[in-house]
């Protein structure tokens, strides 16, 4: 089967899965609505002020969209960082990039930015700057002549992550805690409903980052040959690396600004896809967008319902999946490269 047909098939299957999980997520929740009531609200037959309308259309639906977007963005960022560093364990949270973005967001909140349209943009800019700063630091620390060393890269990620987490703690301690309402919950990854304009901005930024990485997917394959060999095949390696680096930081920063630093999605989803589809980034990037959505939406639906009426942070669920998965990969498949 040609690569194009495999991609179409995989996307069709993942799309169906996304639809199924989205429907499930719309119909279950702590409000205890009957399926009929949810269906009425979705069909627009319930009154705008009715409970089922508010719960379904203003709470659950934006949350479903945000979860799918955040999951897709994180998974694509994972694929990008893995190709860029030629390190299969690289991922926004492992590399400390999420922590950098989170620092940016806390800083933005201290300046009083919220989620209204313009302020959300400001928040995303802060998160993006934080992500770039952290990713740049990790890159500079781990760079050795001729590439990046795998163990050093992981250690650099941990160190940079710890640094920014400490910096966040300092900010929270210094500033009046009431002004940072819900920050702790948010720091664990929290897909609380986002206003429609902010959600639109989220989608726009995520798609921009995705587009840049998708456009570079074939060249990212060539980067596996090494930078010099890629250059000799006609790839402008410096420009490619810059573009993908910025795009992956944008994806990470955007997700952190609107949903918090959710960990390990960029590790789990790409690796499951690699097992099925192989290592071609042209197949991985688009399927990660949909597959990441499926994974995070499922995790968030679980987080909303497992301890209902209370709610777990979705980041807890992804970490409970991702941490053992990371250890498994470290001990089995990638033992030799460390």
């Amino acid at each position: 089967m040609s690569a194009g047909r495999r991609l179409a098939l995989a996307l069709a299957m993942l799309g169906a899965a996304l639809l199924a999980v989205a429907v499930l997520a719309l119909f279950v929740g702590s409000a205890g609505l009957s399926p009929g009531a949810v269906a009425r609200a979705l069909a627009g037959q319930a009154g705008a002020e009715s409970v089922e309308s508010v719960v379904t259309l203003q709470l659950r639906l934006p949350r479903v969209v945000a979860a799918a977007l955040a999951g897709g963005a994180l998974a694509v960022a994972g694929v990008a960082f893995q190709a860029l560093t030629r390190n299969p364990l690289a991922e926004p949270s492992v590399l400390g990039v999420s922590s950098g973005a989170a620092f940016g967001v806390v800083l933005a909140q201290i300046f009083g930015l919220g989620l209204s349209a313009l302020q959300a943009l400001g928040m995303a800019v802060f998160a993006f700057a934080g992500a770039l700063l952290a990713a740049g630091a990790v890159y500079l620390i781990a760079r050795v002549p001729g590439g990046l060393s795998v163990p050093t890269l992981l250690l650099a990620g941990v160190i940079v992550g710890i640094f920014f987490t400490s910096a966040i703690t300092v900010l929270i301690s210094v500033v009046d805690f009431d002004r940072l309402g819900g920050v702790v919950h948010w720091l664990l990854g929290n897909l609380a409903p986002i206003p429609p304009t902010a959600l639109a901005l989220f989608a726009l930024l995520a798609l921009a980052g995705f587009g840049l990485i998708l456009r570079s997917a074939r060249e990212l394959n060539l980067l596996a040959l090494g930078e010099e060999a890629a250059t000799q095949l006609g790839v402008n390696a410096a420009r490619l690396k810059r573009r993908v680096f910025v795009a992956a930081a944008l994806l990470t920063g955007t997700v952190v600004a609107f949903a918090g630093p959710i960990g390990f999605v960029g590790l789990v989803v790409p690796h499951v896809l690699r097992g099925v589809l192989g290592q071609d980034n042209r197949l991985l990037v688009p399927t990660a967008l949909v597959g990441g959505g499926v994974f995070l939406l499922a995790a968030d639906t679980l987080a909303r319902n497992v301890v209902a009426p209370a709610e777990l942070s979705v980041g807890v669920i992804t970490s409970f999946c991702g941490a053992p998965f990371f250890v498994y990969l470290l001990r089995t498949r990638y033992r030799a490269s460390l």
Binding site: Q232, L233, G234, D280
Partner: protein
């Protein structure tokens, strides 16, 4: 007639951190030309500048002085893909880790022929198959590169370069990790690509005897300068080689090919008591 490749008084030095003033030139005043259709060899001791010469030709680094021309056009004026359609490199080592199959590797050679394309075209697929046929790796197509033996990996890398359909095929130490049989096969393959497919070949090698056998002309580099250019019979002479390599050599004639064969004149071991 314009030669395919021209080095015109080229100098290059790697930047040396902390010692900007006294940067030692890796290459200085290098001039030579490669004619279309020939097999041209670059030989010389370690750190003579062989690899640097190759990196200058493929624009991985830019010349500090002088000019490198391809078909009369300075390569600095060519786009990355434009250059890659004309010059293909078979590197000394295969990349590691490398998660792709032989077929995927060979298809990468098609990139410069359609850099804007997301998936390869039918033509690309056909060219990749032809390149694998020509280098005898078609039966290995679905296997991961990392599972192959050293000789097979080398041929797969060669297939990738052939798929590029270049006018100039550059090989960096093609027999460095190969045993005798694969060395012989590589030599035969190079001749076939040169005579059959009409590719000009640039061979960079430590192996003086391989160079003597397959090359029409040789360039001997010593200390970043051209020590001698000419047919193997002229370059591979004791009086030329000894000052460049700094050791005594014996130059013989290979009885089957009639080409020069070089050996080290091993220092005599002290008698054991």
């Amino acid at each position: 007639m314009i030669p395919l490749v021209e080095f015109d008084d080229v100098a290059f030095a790697y930047p040396q951190p902390g010692r900007r003033r006294q940067a030692a030139f890796t290459l200085a005043g290098v001039s030579f030309a490669i004619e279309a259709g020939e097999v041209f060899g670059v030989i010389g001791p370690n750190s003579a500048g062989k690899t640097t010469l190759l990196r200058l030709l493929t624009r991985v680094v830019a010349a500090g002085r002088g000019e490198v021309r391809l078909d009369g056009v300075p390569i600095a004026r060519l786009g990355h893909s434009e250059l890659a359609r004309q010059v293909a490199v078979v590197p000394q080592d295969t990349p590691r880790p490398f998660p792709f199959s032989v077929e995927q590797l060979v298809l990468m050679g098609r990139y410069p022929h359609g850099p804007g394309r997301f998936f390869e075209s039918e033509i690309d697929l056909a060219q990749a198959v032809a390149a694998m046929e020509a280098t005898g790796v078609r039966h290995l197509a679905p296997l991961p590169l990392e599972q192959l033996s050293g000789g097979e990996r080398q041929r797969a890398m060669l297939a990738r370069a052939v798929a590029q359909q270049p006018r100039l095929l550059v090989l960096d130490e093609p027999t460095a990790h190969l045993d005798l049989r694969y060395q012989a096969e590589t030599a035969a393959l190079l001749r076939q690509l040169n005579a059959g497919a009409g590719m000009t070949v640039l061979l960079v090698s430590h192996d003086l005897n391989l160079a003597a056998e397959v090359c029409d002309r040789l360039l001997l580099l010593g200390g970043g300068r051209v020590a001698c250019v000419g047919p193997p019979i002229e370059v591979l002479q004791r009086a030329v080689l000894e000052p460049v390599f700094g050791c005594a050599v014996v130059v013989d004639v290979n009885p089957t090919s009639g080409r020069p064969a070089v050996q080290v004149a091993w220092p005599v071991a002290p008698a054991r008591r």
